[in-house]
Symmetry: C2
Subunit: 198 residues, 2 copies
DNA sequence: GAATATTTGTATCGGTAGGTATGGAATTGT
DNA sequence: ACAATTCCATACCTACCGATACAAATATTC
């Protein structure tokens, strides 16, 4: 039985989620009120709760969606590059571009949404923190692999390199939120690459 | 006439402001509620309003105080170094240290307090954005002076260098908020210096 | 001591936050 | 047609937001 029984919902959950993502991206977790969200999603409050649970679950869904698109995807694309240097150069370039995508809010959701917050949202803050750490960890693992493969100098420190690159991308997010242009960020990416070993 | 008439206030405004700064630093502008603030400051609500105007003015006062201490001071100290390279190395090192000062909340107030926010706090967001830009501008001016003095290569781009350094410090703030240690950040600072020209 | 000025604590303001109860509307299976 | 099920819309809930009215308390000035 494919068709659900009962009255079918009149909105598309995925596109509503995209709208919610956009609001969270722009306003942050606490800064996005339910009124902001429902208005942007074109649905009313009970529909939101029926479809997504509550604000926190909605945000987590939006966060998952974010990871598959835009800046989130930038990392996975970059990890596929053949050499460590290419991985990092591609990552920095991708991030610079996606953080300044004119069709999205500036900056990175996982950096902007809840760097600080009220006590009630501490769980979200932790979640974002964890996701940033996971991204860094992925990069680190890739660099360690590069060392094993002889593609990156044997005495390079993968953890420190990953942290440095991660730091630059997070700084770029703050810059983007402050109005830095795409060119500005691409120059930052170039500059960061000059620190690359070898 | 030195002594005021009327009942004297029973708290020290400066130390109350320090407490408020601490709360804003930890929770951000919107995340810090009046209840959080008054409790930490040890005063009640009307006293706060009488002494500081309102939440926004209190925050601006706290921000001014922040600029004179801790991470804010890190920049001014660094600008006094004799060469461009020393300025930047000192800046990055100072920032790494002050962002991980165990007696303060992690990270930089001007980065954390309102990267995103509800519509009502847009003015604060802009203010913080402006202050970050001013800090970068100060560094840029210092680097331009270094070029004039022949201390920095003639074909170096002061604006891009300043933006890069600024980006790294802002990224370090995000890292600090995420729990990075002082050593971690010092290594990031070292790594960033490898991008330095010459 | 009386008048004046200011701070303090309590109690409250209107507004909005996130979250729901309820009842009618729309579709399913029988 | 009818019961069952699900969705939508209005209206509302409690809690808390930033901000104040008010009167008791404490100081100075006359």
């Amino acid at each position: 039985m494919q068709a659900h029984k009962g009255r079918p919902r009149e909105f598309d959950a995925d596109s509503a989620l995209d709208k919610a993502l956009h609001v969270f991206w722009q306003r942050g977790y606490e800064g996005a009120s339910l009124s902001d969200l429902t208005e942007a999603m074109g649905i009313n409050r009970p529909s939101l709760y029926a479809a997504f649970g509550n604000k926190e679950e909605l945000f987590r869904r939006a966060l998952d969606r974010y990871a598959e698109r835009g800046p989130g995807r930038a990392l996975n694309e970059a990890l596929a590059e053949p050499t460590a240097r290419d991985v990092v150069a591609r990552l920095l370039k991708n991030v610079a571009i996606s953080l300044t995508d004119p069709s999205n809010p500036r900056g990175c959701l996982s950096v902007q949404a809840a760097l600080t917050c009220g006590e009630a949202s501490d769980a979200i803050k932790q979640e974002l923190c964890k996701r940033r750490a996971e991204a860094e960890q992925k990069l680190r693992a890739r660099l360690e692999r590069a060392i094993d493969e002889g593609d990156l100098s044997f005495d390079a420190d993968a953890a420190r390199l990953a942290r440095f690159v991660s730091t630059v991308t997070q700084g770029m997010s703050v810059q983007a939120a402050g109005g830095a242009s795409r060119d500005d960020l691409l120059h930052v990416a170039d500059m960061a690459m000059r620190a690359w070993p070898g």
